[in-house]
Amino acid sequence: MIEIRFHGRGGQGAVIASNILADAAFREGMEVQAFPYFGVERRGAPVTAFTRIDTKPIRIRSEIKEPNIVVVLDESLLSAVNVTNGLKPNGLVLINTAKNPEDFKHLKAKIATVDAKSIAVNNKLGSKTAPIVNTAILGAFAKATGLVKLETVMECARDGTPVKKDENANAVKEAYEQTKM
């Protein structure tokens, strides 16, 4: 079983990202489960969401404490939250940042980066001050992990977002191409 933890802020689409990823893995024949940290979401406040992917039906009904992969939708969270808490040995951390993987050696994990914020802004997803980066980051997820194919993520991004379906699918593709590992 692969366990993934998403870190974002209220309104950035972390929960929708965990759902779209589950949908994509499901469409590729996987058993899946996704759920948000059951707290009180507030725009801007830190939010955590989880996705589990497995080959057999998933029955565990409790929080993910030792993720294989951590996805950070907002770089500023690195100072507010211990994102690598419980990360499995040689687990992966995917970060939305303009910086490079080498700049995050201190996290002592495999690192992948993508500038999902600029991709989101270029594709007019969310506002300039509050870009919605969830679909872009999933493009990078597909590239960095190979767990799901680009086409599936694009298709699910289209279905999973209420508006701007083409822009979201495009953001997935751009992020896939620009992922640095």
């Binding site: 209220g10 309104g11 009180v40 507030r42 725009r43 406040a45």
Partner: protein, 299 residues
Amino acid sequence: MGKLTIPEEEYMLEGHMGCLGCGGTLAMRYLLKGLGKDTILSIPACCWAIMMGSFPYTNLKVPMHNSAFEVTGAAISGIEAALKVKGKEHINVVGFAGDGGTIDIGFQALSGCVERGHNVFYVCYDNEAYMNTGIQRSGSTPVGAWTTTTPVGKTGDWKKAPKKNAVEIMVAHKIPYTATASVAYPEDYIKKVLKGKETKGPKYYQVLSPCPTGWKYPPEKTVEIGRLAVQTCIYPLYEVVNGRYNITFKPAKKKPVKEYFELQGRFRHLPEKVIEEIQQSVDKDWEILQRKVEMTKDL
């Protein structure tokens, strides 16, 4: 107070759970500036039930009772009665609730409380939908608005039923004092609160509290939208003192409702024809209000 136009003392503290640009926080902040320290609040299920932080913290410098959703009117009646029996009638007793908690599920308790004539304040911070549960329509949602339960979609299913007018319902209860207010006009709002302190019996306030998340606009526009609501006469500022109407703010030039709608995603779907119909309805209500002032000015 120097150059300040509202009292400087803060009774609502920073570090609360309000969203960026939340109008409801300003509705509380200004209220407490008017009421001061000797105040007991009762708040039902609503955004404010979790705004002050979770246990063991509060961002309020006044005591507050958390109540069930439908009972604010009864809860403040109980506090008022106990204070009377204990000889502590100088303490302001205040129900502070959302629009749904006031005019839908809490209406029965509010009506009973006002009819019995309890010496209390009831302040409804009106963000025009059930925001704490995720933007569902309420009886206070205006005509034309999108919510998750008036989802517009392809069949144009925006809110069709008119917004309940709680202030007029309170007038029908022969309430000693009732008024509207907007967070964009804190001086007007606080002046009305101070008037309430001089008035014995029930006082009802309806405070427009714009909500960036629910009305779909960028958070910095909260006060601007709260102002436009008044300048377009969609949300006129007035008070009714023992049946006598008084408009407390007359816009120099009445602005078209279009200007108010354009800033908010919840109205973006409205066709021109419907906006025109809403404009006429707003103009008619504004005319009726002015006639009421005329009709009752020397009673």
